[in-house]
Amino acid sequence: MEPKNPFTKAILAPVRKISTGDTLLWGTLLVLLLAGGAAWTWQYIEGLGITGMNRPVYWGVYITNFVFFIGLAHSGTFISAILRIAGQSWRAPLTRAAEAITLFSLPFGAGSIIIDMGHPERIFNLLFYGRYQSPILWDVTAVSLYMLSSIVFFYLSLIPDIALCRDRLTGAPRWQHRMYEVLALGWNHSPEQYRRLEKALDGMAVFMTMLVVTVHTVVSWLFGMTVQPGWHTALIGPFFLLGAILSGTAAVVIVLALLRKAYRLEKVLHLGLFNSLRKLLITFVLGWLYMMIAEHLTIGYSSMTEEMVVLTDKFSGAYAAVFWSMAALVFGVPLLVFLFKGKNNIGWMVFACVLINIGMWMERYIVIIPTEASPRLLTVMGQGSYLPALPEILITVACFAGMALLYAVFTRFFPIVPIWETAQELPGHAHAAETSPTGD
């Protein structure tokens, strides 16, 4: 007995329909990804010297990417885990789309660290000689656990739908069908399976929520544990976390709009979802603003010498342009859009969310670079400066391209809207889908 969902066909429709457009898109993304791979190979052979990093700016866009992608990854966990715990059942249609962002951005987040290493082949030294006082070990623990848990969380909720694919998409090529068979793990839609699945997911949701807080806090501690001005603040953890959730949620909006458009899922991914997300985003943007003010007011009010150097750099110095456009992109413009234009308007929402994500990338940049450029000892010696070099740009582009590629390919092989979670009735018991898709 399958879950009863009136949209099963619509949801399964995009699967397997690989169009010329898809091939072109995948090809383009693949080329970008390979270009990044080539750049990394080049970097591996020559050394990190080919990047724009220097002394004192030892960390550049790779670490920015790391923080950004890990932040982006919080979308999925937030939408499915936190809202699951909170009983927000409207989130059901977008859980998988959101979790997929998590799944596909995490490798590029974690990978950025490896790309940033001077000796990537020594990565296993972390296991052989791991030293737990280092925040990097915390990161490795948290991020790898997070990545693993995300995969499991994602996969568990995918199993029933894989089973559906297995059952329904008999016309698929042999290998693909075989893939469904294997991945479905013999799922047979028994009520007990669904009961246990729900139970497991509920349980994991709590764990994932804890992880999401941990992971981004730990990421921020990479910076916060050093005594460098601008970083050494207890607020850096919550600040990073909130930023992560904001950029993740904004990314969900972008992805949803794209899916809706590209795969004609207007009925399933209805406007109501965007309106709900809009309210969330308004909250997060304001929350982010709060963090921003709390952080900079504390620093600015106390006016400690070395902290002020960094703060001045951001407010009116070399990084003022980036800082203030970041503030406008993350907070100013999006808030106005959400308040006055976003309601019932997906175009404006996407616009604002794109701005937020550009802005959040810049925010990561502006947290990391100015502090490095003005370390305690070298301030009087002249500003450190940093501009990403070609390999860094290529690799950054490749990270985004890779993430998009994985996403695009995934949606052609698996239903991106969870069929069973949005079903009106599940085998064995009625699904509590009060806000089942209505398509207003």
Binding site: G47, G49, M53, W59, G118, N125, R131, P135, T226, V380
Partner: protein, 228 residues
């Protein structure tokens, strides 16, 4: 075991940068070249840092020679994920170049900016390789690892070997780093901070003595004596 420490008298230091050059020649740090130097990638373990403040004609300039502080509580060691940087029992903060993964967290964490990253494999024009110090501890480092001042740990070993060969007990005064030996104004002192009779431990407690960023709690073992 001695606890090695250094005292630099800023009143006697005339910022001649001989320490900088001696360090390079002793420890085989490669010339960066114009391009890399322009990016701030010069590797000079023992830099003299300029601080120029004030406006003409009331200008205050401080020229601060800065070796590794060999902190008792080093920020770099805390953050190293693989213990590639570690403090030995004589208090020297060292780097295992064969273990370092090149994450540069230590370079970011060190408030004294003493740690240098090998952005490229070190290079010398072929002829110039002749002058490289042959001691095993200072063989040119591979690309992608962090390096820093070691208080010339190879000299410590050499001094011990010499003492052994000469059949006498090794004394703290047998060993000084290259920068101390070459210091043109005899502004640097080196020795055992745990020995209350040593010159360094006396000077380290002089009223003129201070340590850089004492407030950070890193407990540097390099002391400065105030100018004037």
């Amino acid at each position: 075991m001695p606890r090695w420490g250094m005292v630099i008298d800023l009143d006697k230091c005339f910022a001649c940068q001989s320490c900088t050059a001696a360090c390079r020649m002793e420890n085989n740090t490669p010339p960066a070249g114009k391009d890399q130097a322009g990016m701030g990638r010069t590797i000079l373990w023992n830099e003299v840092l300029p601080f120029v403040e004030g406006e003409y004609p009331n200008v205050k300039a401080t020229l601060l020679p800065r070796p590794c502080m060999h902190c008792d509580n080093p920020a770099c060691i805390k953050v190293c994920p693989v213990q590639a940087t570690y403090k030995n029992e004589e208090g020297l903060v060292l780097v295992d170049y064969n273990r370092c993964i090149g994450c540069r967290m230590c370079t970011v964490a060190c408030p004294y900016a003493v740690r240098y990253f090998n952005w490229y494999a070190p290079e010398w024009p072929e002829d110039l390789k002749a002058h490289l110090n042959p001691e095993p501890e200072v063989q040119p480092r591979p690309k992608g690892v962090v390096e820093k001042c070691t208080f010339c740990v190879q000299r410590l070993r050499q001094a011990r070997e010499t003492a052994e060969a000469e059949g006498r007990t090794f004394q703290a005064t047998d060993y000084v780093p290259a920068c101390v030996q070459t210091c043109t104004a005899h502004a640097r002192y080196f020795g055992d901070l745990d020995d209350p009779d040593s010159l360094v431990s006396k000077l380290a407690h002089s009223p003129r003595a201070f340590r850089m960023f004492e407030e950070l709690g890193t407990q540097p073992k390099v002391f400065y004596l105030k100018q004037g």
